[in-house]
Symmetry: C2
Subunit: 243 residues, 2 copies
């Protein structure tokens, strides 16, 4: 069987998330049905990771095994013709049999958008977190650098989520502002559940002056109650998966 790797963009606004739910197909099920329409195969696709309701993707990756002989280069147009406009296949490559979009992933880049102006924006409403308060961007940039490197991010995950380990490595983090739109990008070897959204919420709380502690102290505390709030899902984008 061939193993095909898809790169996918989606606007997550309308979806309950990546994963299939009892009553909703989710993004996964929507793509699986489009694959069925072009191949007549009932296959299961595996993503690099699930995304929550409202979260977007600029470069989600998923793979599936198929007997279809459609050339990989023709798959994006074929699937896009069947998919709703808020999902788009932007690349398809044939990969080796042992490639697995989740287990083969070496790192991920997330982007988070904050719209920092007093009044709401009609143009950014579904793709950014509206923060109406003034933010000390320099403090946010400075404190974000303490996230770099390998740390125990136990305090930066959703309460009750369980994973084997909570050590993660952040390779890079950047924060840029243009015309009221703050773009945060973070590249790491992996992220705990809600970790990016808690990092953003913590930085926003620092920028507003609601948190006096340093990021270094908060990481060291390993305590979710020391970190800031969880920024909303609709500002988050899975930008790229590294293999």
């Amino acid at each position: 069987m061939r193993n095909l790797k898809l790169t996918i963009q989606y606007d997550g606004s309308r979806y309950c998330g990546w994963q299939k739910q009892p009553d909703f197909s989710g993004i996964q099920g929507t793509i699986e049905y489009a694959i069925y329409e072009i191949t007549r195969e009932k296959i299961k696709i595996e993503a690099s990771g699930r995304t929550d309701a409202g979260v977007h993707a600029l470069g989600q990756v998923a793979n599936f095994k198929t007997n279809s002989t459609i050339p990989a280069s023709r798959i994006p147009d074929a699937l896009n013709a069947k998919l709703p406009k808020d999902i788009s296949i932007i690349d398809c490559q044939e990969v080796s049999e042992d490639f697995h979009s989740r287990y083969s992933a070496k790192g991920k880049v997330y982007r988070y958008l904050i719209y920092n102006r007093p009044y709401r924006s009609p143009l950014y409403k579904n793709i950014s977190y509206h923060v109406k308060y003034e933010l000390d961007l320099e403090r946010m940039k400075r404190e974000s650098k303490s996230l770099l490197g390998t740390h125990d991010f136990k305090g930066f995950r959703k309460d009750g989520s369980s994973v084997r380990g909570t050590m993660r490595t952040i390779h890079d983090i950047t924060i840029e502002e243009n015309d009221g739109l703050i773009v945060l990008e973070v590249y790491g070897n992996g992220f705990l559940y809600n970790m990016v959204r808690i990092i953003v919420g913590t930085l926003v709380d620092m920028g507003r002056g609601k948190i006096d502690k340093s990021m270094e102290e908060i990481i060291a505390s390993k305590d979710k109650y020391e970190a800031g709030h969880t920024a909303p899902a609709h500002g988050l984008f899975l930008k790229k998966v590294h293999y």
Copy 2:
């Protein structure tokens, strides 16, 4: 009577444009009704200029005369509470009686977004022009510089549109690309009907190699048939009005 100047953002996707139409209220009518709801006055607002169906605004300006005593600083929140989410008042200032959003305008900045990737983008679908062909961005940047200065832009307006004169001055034009998103911004003392969209269409046709003539030659021809196509409305944003 007080003269109030509003700065307005909108996502034009749902609207037939700024202007009231027989069966539709347009953006103008929607805002006029919101003003009625907070002041009980049936007023008419005047914009710096109309925008077509699908065109967006980051900084449209409109003014209206009122007997209301609501402080200007409280108008944005009061109106935003009545307006649909795709329109937002981002500023309100009390201005002198003779201020007129259209006649007092000294210049405008438009932004145009082109999404230049082979496959459609779910995230930029309503706010950018999808060009799937490879574009020679360097040629586009080079040729765009010939637009600077004062020229007769007769070839860059919609057929049949009538205005007194077709001389316009372009003060600045920039083209930047990031991750497949091309951002064009143009600042001029005024623009003919569809002028920005024809400039963009001409530059795209140059970038694709469909037009061999230089921008200088096309301007000199004063002939719409020498210029390129009219880029679609939904990539266009009225960014700022200068007074």
